[in-house]
């Protein structure tokens, strides 16, 4: 078992080592980072504990189980989020059909109102359940929405600057992203507002190799304008568990599948 893990680890490390010889194009860097960050395995599951801390240090907790299934690596994928805490929102479900060429489909199930609601997702930069994370941070921003530019290359990172193609659609003017050269995991993203002031930062605080996939197990987003941050901790992460496509459907919102509950 130990050896098995080691082999995976080595192979994961060896890819970037091999690549170093050639110079990667910016598009290749962006594409690879996107896959590493959001498309590990064909599917995956994690228990997430989100702590929302406001500017006064007051904490709120959200706990949920998140399922993901990729239709196509680097392309369309589906998310299913099942809430466990706070107790009064337990069994709430949030589901996303992520598309590349059009707006995502989003659903919400509110058990207390016995209501399935579709949420128009024309704007993906709204809060994810009251946290400092945006929907887009959870499901991933489509890489074709920004123009990318390699600002600098350090021994450890590719530093990319990204400028939105449709500036009216987002609240930021640009953001920089630090991509680990070995793992291709984005380790940090910093957002500048229209005045060029840094106001938002996402950081990967802890990384772990899981089933050979470098995985962020603790991440943080900070609001540098108002103050406050949200910290997400991922537990019991599993990849390639063979999730059926059928569970990502409206039918399963009211009757969560076993994988989402346990």
């Amino acid at each position: 078992m130990k050896y098995f893990n080691l082999i995976f680890l080595l192979s994961a490390l060896s890819i970037p080592l091999l690549c170093r010889a050639e110079t990667l194009s910016i598009d290749e860097i962006v594409d690879r980072a996107n896959r590493v960050a959001y498309y590990s395995g064909d599917d995956g599951k994690a228990e997430v504990a989100m702590t929302i801390i406001d500017s006064r240090g007051r904490k709120r907790i959200r706990e949920f189980i998140m399922l993901r299934r990729d239709n196509k690596d680097g392309g369309e994928q589906k998310f299913y989020v099942y809430f466990k805490k706070p107790a009064d929102v337990r069994k709430m479900v949030f589901m996303v059909d992520k598309h590349i060429d059009r707006d995502d489909d989003r659903w919400m199930y509110l058990p207390a109102l016995d209501l399935v609601k579709r949420i128009a997702a024309s704007d993906k930069r709204t809060s994810f359940m009251g946290s400092h994370f945006y929907y887009e941070d959870v499901s991933g921003r489509t890489i074709f929405e920004d123009s990318h530019e390699l600002v600098t290359e350090t021994p450890e990172f590719y530093v990319l600057n990204n400028i939105p193609l449709d500036p009216d659609s987002v609240e930021f003017a640009s953001y920089k992203i630090w991509i680990n050269k070995k793992t291709f995991l984005p380790m940090k993203a910093e957002y500048l507002n229209r005045e060029g002031r840094l106001y938002r930062r996402i950081t990967a605080l802890d990384i772990k190799d899981i089933q050979g996939y470098p995985t962020v197990i603790k991440s943080q987003v900070e609001d540098l304008d108002v103050g406050g941050k949200t910290i997400s901790v991922f537990k019991n992460i599993k990849y390639d568990i063979g999730l059926k496509e059928s569970i990502f459907s409206e039918r399963y919102l009211r009757r969560p599948p076993r994988e989402a509950r346990r």
């Binding site: 007051r58 009064d88 109102l113 108002v226």
Partner: protein, 860 residues
């Protein structure tokens, strides 16, 4: 040698040394003025650690509230009102521009961009067709077509949180609310916005208001007042004295004394680390008339007597012998009047009272020391043309003839004068009973000031730009372990009834309860939860789900104290808001109940039947978490704390009068007494509009205490001065009548009893008794000399009455420049100073001789 002449020997012998000493002192203290620190914040009327202020600041932090500059954009010419592409472009540009405003010297002083309420920075929840809801910016970008503009109007009008706040119900105005981190930034923000607005064209009108702007602008205008009005008053006094005394060299000393006292007092005030507050900025204006009074008495008498002897030293000694005691006492009484303000529990008022008191004693000392020195520095020759040449001229002139006929009238009709006085007092008492205590910082500006205009226009279009916060807090006690156990067992019984497996698991769960030793409910639930979780992990799938439900009922118990998710509590808030709306003075109120209702309705296709509070806690919680999927989830925390134990009802008033706020406060009190809340709730107020009420209350009672305190003190001093109870009582008559008259008039004409009016009572006390002291002291003296009141009366209405009249006229007319001030407190002071002088002068010269005539047997 008498005390008066003894006191001035040093000045007579070394006039130049006295002058040199004064110059050194004034330069030394005057230099401190450059260290001035201005404080225009009426909040500082309350002590920093005053409970209500601490709570106000705590509330601001707890609910992320800021002081707000309100920018109103109005268009009443376009058929769609402000909802046309050009106006909305302006609104958009202004909001974006405002979001960048920051103090270049201190980045912490800024507009809080995140919390701006403007169409481009607020979310709407809207129906997006086919069972979809959408959270989106109300105005993501500037609309280009009429349809887009009208869509924005429709969305905003549909949102109870925005209607009446962001958009006027008549569609002719949009309000941009700019939160600022410090009130001192308000004026700067409004200036920068005005500059930006200059670049716009079109029919749009722009108005800026809000208490912080009013307060900060007041501070800026205050300086202009001090720089223009105070010197103007000085010039007016100078010109009048010139008319009376004809010789410039003889009227310079009162001006020197006034300036010396004012500069030294202000220097000392600033040098001792006090800030220049709205109150202390009025020190020069209060001090000047009092400072010149003594020197006018001396000069007036010197003027009348000098030519009789032609010896300046002898004349000044004589004059000082006459006037020393009355001047000492008039100064002491004025000092007592102002020093009594130290009893008022309002720091700026205390500082004001103490420093005016100091200034008065300084002016007295300077008068005694400097006037003789000044007189001695002139040669007899240069004084040759000064003063009255012969007795013939004394009888000429309008002042003399008025005074003479007044004198004979008091001799002939004393009873009638007393009768009229009593009648006036009766009317005045009625007037006083009608006095309304009320203040409003916006009304400190004159009616045509841009701030007042903006205030009127915006409060006409919107629900109100004055804000108050009613904070409700849960007073519920935490569950005891016993109560928690009972509730848990009830839940377990429910689960057990669902089937055989459920019964088994519920029994297992119940059996674990006794293993937990914790007595406090929270740790009991915590520990029990842990032990249940361990069982859940070990269970198979079916068991797992049963455990899941059981554990959740325990988790729900843990958050049972989040009372502001309880439907019945939210409905109670809703009822309270309805009650407030019915008072007619509340423009609008916003609460967490409004948010829940709006979200609930939109979740159900916008159906108006669902514009209500959901039936259970989970329904509320899930509506609220849906709301938090917006761009500004934290908007919720302006209305409720994240632990749901406190809620804030944001109340918008279209009128910032204290009496309006007071009526809202009592409306809430009455409602809560008549309708006990479903759970124990505390209620407390915050917000600038409320703070003003608190310090006004303190001001009124404080001033009243101070007034009665100084009234008694002055009365005792009078008994001492005249060594007679009756003479002391007599001295109190003119000031009592004057005060009754002034406050009676205030009540009758419906002028609000506000900050400057309150302070004037002390001024009245100090000035009105002065004339009485001079009058009575001289009356007794002359009576002793001539032995009959009839004869004494005639002499009294010659030189002594002239000195009093000159004082009245100089000060009354000298302060008319204040009427030109654009700030109401200064105007009020100007008008009332003049009135006080005239009334107290008339009272002194009519009532006192009349009373003496009637009671002369008892008095002499």
């Amino acid at each position: 040698m008498k005390i008066g002449s003894r006191f001035i020997q040093f000045s007579i012998l070394s006039p130049r040394l006295v002058t040199a000493l004064m110059i050194i002192i004034v330069l030394g203290l005057g230099a401190l003025i450059v260290k001035v620190k201005v404080d225009t914040d009426p909040e500082n009327m309350l002590n920093q650690d005053e409970a209500v202020r601490v709570f106000h600041n705590h509330t601001k932090k707890e609910f992320n509230l800021y002081d707000v500059v309100v920018l109103g954009v109005v268009n009443d010419t376009h058929p769609d009102g402000v909802f046309n592409p050009q106006t909305l472009r302006h609104v958009f540009d202004l909001s974006r521009f405002a979001s960048t405003l920051v103090d270049p010297d201190d980045p912490a002083v800024r507009v809080v961009a995140h919390d701006i309420i403007a169409p481009d920075n607020v979310d709407t929840i809207e129906q997006a067709g086919a069972g979809q809801v959408r959270f989106d910016w109300l105005m993501k970008k500037v609309p280009q077509s009429r349809e887009e503009c009208l869509r924005i109007r429709e969305l905003a009008m549909d949102n109870p949180l925005l209607k009446g706040t962001l958009v006027a119900e008549d569609g002719q105005a949009i309000g941009i609310y700019l939160p600022i981190t410090s009130k001192t930034f308000a004026h700067e923000v409004s200036q920068r916005l005005k500059d930006k607005i200059k670049s716009f064209t079109g029919d749009d009108q722009f108005f800026i208001t809000g208490l912080p702007v009013a307060e900060d602008t007041f501070g800026k205008d205050m300086f202009i007042q001090m720089a223009i009005c105070a010197p103007l008053a000085m010039i007016a006094i100078f010109l009048l004295m010139l008319i009376f005394f004809k010789k410039i060299s003889m009227i310079i000393p009162p001006l020197i004394i006034a300036m010396f006292s004012v500069i030294c007092t202000m220097g000392l005030l600033i040098g001792t680390g006090n800030t220049l507050h709205i109150m202390s900025s009025m020190i020069p204006i209060f001090l000047m008339p009092i400072a010149v009074v003594d020197s006018i008495h001396i000069l007036s008498e010197f003027f009348d007597r000098y030519q009789l002897s032609g010896d300046r030293r002898k004349t000044i000694e004589e004059v000082m012998n006459h006037l020393f005691m009355p001047m000492l006492y008039t100064s002491l009484t004025s000092t007592a009047g102002f020093a009594s303000l130290a009893l008022a529990p309002i720091p700026p008022v205390q500082v004001f009272g103490l420093f005016v008191a100091f200034g008065i004693m300084l002016a007295w000392l300077t008068t005694i020391v400097f006037i003789p020195a000044y007189v001695m520095m002139f040669s007899e020759e240069s004084l040759a043309d000064f003063g009255i040449q012969d007795n013939a001229s004394k009888r000429q002139g309008w002042l003399n003839s008025i005074l003479l006929s007044m004198g004979s009238f008091t001799g002939k009709q004393p009873r009638m004068i007393i009768g009229v006085t009593l009648f006036v007092i009766v009317i005045a008492s009625y007037g006083i009973s009608k006095i309304e205590v009320n203040d409003n910082p916006v009304n400190w500006f004159t009616a045509d000031h841009p701030i007042r205009v903006a205030d009127r226009v915006l409060n006409h279009h919107f629900s109100g730009t004055y804000e108050a916060y009613l904070v409700l807090g849960s007073q519920e006690l935490p569950l005891t372990r016993h109560e928690a156990e009972i509730l848990l067992k009830k839940e377990l019984d429910k689960v057990a009834g669902q089937g055989p497996r459920e019964k088994l698991v519920a029994g297992e769960a119940a059996s674990l309860i006794k293993n937990i030793s914790a007595s406090e409910s929270f740790s009991f639930l915590d520990q029990l939860g842990e032990s249940w979780l361990a069982r859940q992990d070990a269970a198979d799938d079916e068991g797992f789900y049963i455990w899941d439900d059981i554990i959740n009922s325990l988790e729900l118990l843990k958050i049972r104290d989040q009372v502001f998710k309880e439907p019945e509590v939210l409905r109670y808030i809703e009822k309270l808001q309805e009650h407030l709306q019915q008072t007619g003075v509340v423009g609008k109120s916003n609460s967490v109940s409004d948010v829940v209702k709006k979200v609930y309705q939109e979740l159900f296709e916008g159906n108006p039947d669902y514009f209500r509070i959901p039936d259970n806690v989970n329904g509320v919680a899930q509506s609220l978490i849906s709301f938090q999927n917006s761009h500004h989830p934290d908007d919720l925390w302006h209305l409720v704390t994240p632990d749901y134990k406190k809620a804030n009802i944001w109340i918008q008033l279209s009128n910032g009068d204290n009496k309006v706020m007071e009526s809202v406060v009592s409306a809430v009190d009455n409602f809560m007494v008549a309708n006990p809340p479903p759970v124990e709730l505390s209620h407390k107020w915050a917000g600038l509009t409320f703070l003003n009420v608190v310090w006004q209350d303190k001001m009124v009672t404080g001033m009243l205490n101070a007034f009665f305190g100084s009234f008694v003190t002055v009365f005792i001093m009078m008994i001492f001065l005249f060594r007679s109870f009756f003479w002391g009582l007599l001295a109190m008559i003119p000031l009592s009548v004057t005060i009754a008259f002034i406050y009676g008039v205030i009540g009758l004409i419906g002028k609000d009893y506000d900050m400057p009016v309150a302070v004037l009572s002390s001024l009245t006390l100090g000035l009105a008794v002065d004339f009485a002291i001079h009058f009575l002291e001289r009356s007794r003296e002359i009576y002793k000399k001539v032995g009959s009141w009839q004869e004494a009366n005639r002499e009294m209405f010659a030189e002594p009455a002239r000195a009093i009249s000159r004082n009245i006229i100089v000060i009354a007319v000298g302060f008319t420049p204040l009427l030109a001030a654009p700030l109401m407190p200064y105007k009020t002071v100007g008008i009332f100073l003049a009135t006080i002088m005239v009334i107290s002068g008339i009272c002194t010269m009519l009532i006192l001789p009349a009373v003496i005539a009637v009671f002369q047997k008892r008095l002499f």
